[in-house]
């Protein structure tokens, strides 16, 4: 597929004229129609859209969990996917969850333990290796999920509103950690959210999706210096413009 698209080496992923439709109550629900986007290697791109803009569908197609109805996608290297719920396996400890990702990658036993320990340390969970998911707070679960995503040694990390269910302070801390991990690792991140401020806080670029069916309506390049603060006035101005654009889209889709 990549040859057809003529990708340059700089691309981590590309989506060309992607349409996805599902059968729903004996009619076709079009989640995405003609979505086109490209993400460079090492770039942090946020996708914002109201519900029903097919943001999650986009990530599912990129992760190979759903098939495109039309159009093409290409991902350079492996992908990992994080969801709004941490989706940890409840019968495994924090370390066990990370180790499973390593095991499925073919990493051998001793090394697994060592790497899992190190990854949990990187998300500040030292001392919590033996806890089970139900003994962890929501923020800690997402940290484990993040460590597990890192354990998959992916080139591209797809994140589907990963901090949507967390309280503001925890979310703020996780923004810092994600940004730090991203800068250390050179990962490419495609981050979906419905929160314009969060998108501007994290992204090099923000793609605004239309509603029902979804495609890229608008692109904002965020050139604020990092690390950014959610409360900075510059950030608020850009986020405000994006929010206006989103409202416009929602009205258009509903009207």
């Amino acid at each position: 597929m990549s040859k057809v698209l003529g990708l340059s080496d700089k691309h981590a992923l590309s989506v060309e004229a992607l349409s996805v439709a599902f059968p729903h109550d004996d009619r076709l629900l079009v989640a995405l129609q003609g979505a086109t986007l490209e993400v460079q290697r090492g770039e942090f791109v946020c996708v914002v859209g109201a519900s029903g803009s097919g943001k999650s569908t986009l990530l599912n197609v990129l992760a190979g969990l759903e098939r495109p109805t039309r159009g093409r996608t290409h991902v350079h290297g492996h992908v990992a996917l994080m969801f709004q719920e941490a989706a940890l396996l409840p019968w495994l400890t924090a370390a066990g969850n990370v180790e499973l990702a390593l095991e499925l990658r073919g990493v051998k036993g001793d090394q697994r333990r060592r790497i899992a320990q190190e990854l949990l340390g990187r998300v500040h969970l030292n001392g919590f290796e033996k806890r089970r998911p139900h003994e962890l707070s929501g923020g800690m679960k997402q940290r484990v999920a993040l460590a597990r995503a890192l354990a998959q040694d992916a080139d591209v990390l797809l994140m589907d509103e990963p901090f949507g269910a967390l309280d503001a302070i925890t979310r703020d801390l996780l923004h810092e950690e994600l940004e730090r991990l991203w800068r250390q690792s050179g990962l490419t991140i495609l981050f979906v959210t419905h929160n314009a401020r969060e998108a501007v806080r994290l992204g090099d670029r923000v793609l605004v999706f239309t509603s029902r069916p979804g495609r890229v309506a608008h692109e904002v390049v965020v050139d604020l210096p990092r690390p950014r603060s959610l409360d900075s006035p510059e950030l608020a101005v850009i986020a405000g413009r994006i929010t206006d654009r989103l409202k416009h889209e929602v009205r258009r889709a509903d009207g």
């Binding site: 992760a63 190979g64 969990l65 992908v79 990992a80 996917l81 969801f83 719920e85 989706a87 396996l89 409840p90 019968w91 499973l100 990702a101 095991e103 499925l104 990658r105 500040h124 969970l125 001392g127 919590f128 806890r131 089970r132 998911p133 139900h134 003994e135 707070s137 923020g139 800690m140 597990r148 998959q152 302070i169 925890t170 801390l173």
Partner: protein, 284 residues
């Protein structure tokens, strides 16, 4: 970073555990005394019925002579050989049911055609009274050990297959997606995600399967008398034939206690798995 430290403070969880441990024996007693009261009430009711003279003593003896007889039985060697025969049949039949039920459960869960063909039959089999299988079992295997095993198997296997099937069906789709994103497909997805997720339901099926197996076995031992093997069921039948009511009730108590003990063991297993799987909510 103060907030981070607060969220990550390991003491918050560790502090909870010693408290939980110190109350363990209190909770044990809290669970035990209602049971003791229930036993006392049952014995008292029994004694009152006996005293009322509703039936003569040689038909319905009171608790004291029955427990005395039970005490004597417990000193007799042939009581234990009978117990051993019964438990051996139970374990063997049940083990076969676990193997066959699991294999059938997995196959039905995996193969769409099999599911359509026999998925609902598995549920139907569970409601089939096991005693209804005996005439066929006796035709097929005569009055032999195998006739009993056959019915125990048919009693327990559908519950075990059903538990596994329902566990596999109700695995959270999100966990399956996570497994697939991590690169687990086919058998590896089953081994690492689907089967562990289905384990609580499977244990539920094992527990129910045991109950069916035990009932089928007792029915079988009353109906299928295999020569020279004084199993518990057979001893029960002999006691009735000899109109030995004390012995009959003593054996019934043994059967009841075995059922309760094994059910309790399954209960412990069930609770432990639910706790580890974070399903009980007690520790969260």
């Amino acid at each position: 970073m103060a907030e981070l430290a607060a969220e990550l403070d390991p003491r918050t969880l560790e502090e909870i555990e010693p408290r939980a441990r110190s109350t363990w024996h209190v909770r044990g007693w809290a669970g035990l005394w209602p049971k003791l009261v229930a036993v006392a009430l049952a014995l008292a009711t029994w004694q009152v019925v006996v005293w009322s003279g509703w039936r003569p003593d040689y038909v319905l003896p009171g608790p004291l002579p029955v427990f005395h007889r039970l005490y004597e039985d417990l000193a007799r060697l042939d009581f234990y050989s009978g117990l051993a025969i019964t438990l051996r049949r139970a374990l063997f039949g049940y083990a076969m049911a676990v193997v066959i039920g699991s294999v059938v459960g997995i196959l039905v869960a995996r193969v769409a055609l099999l599911r359509k063909a026999i998925g609902s039959a598995i549920l139907g089999l569970q409601s089939m009274p096991s005693i209804a299988w005996f005439p066929l079992a006796i035709l097929l295997f005569q009055l032999s050990e195998w006739a009993i095993i056959f019915v125990v198997l048919l009693g327990a296997a559908p519950a075990i297959a059903g538990g596994l099937l329902s566990g596999v069906d109700h695995v959270q789709p999100l966990l399956v997606r996570v497994g697939r994103v991590m690169g687990a497909r086919g058998l590896r997805l089953y081994r690492h995600v689907v089967l562990p997720a289905a384990l609580p339901s499977f244990v539920g099926g094992l527990k129910q399967g045991w109950a069916f197996a035990w009932r089928s076995l007792m029915a079988g031992e009353l109906i299928v008398i295999v020569g020279q093997q004084p199993s518990l069921g057979q001893q029960l039948q002999f006691a009735r034939d000899l109109a030995d009511a004390e012995q009959l009730l003593a054996i019934m108590i043994v059967i009841f206690v075995i059922g309760v003990v094994i059910d309790t063991l399954f209960g412990v297993l069930d609770r432990e798995i639910r706790r580890r799987w974070g399903l009980s909510g007690a520790e969260a």
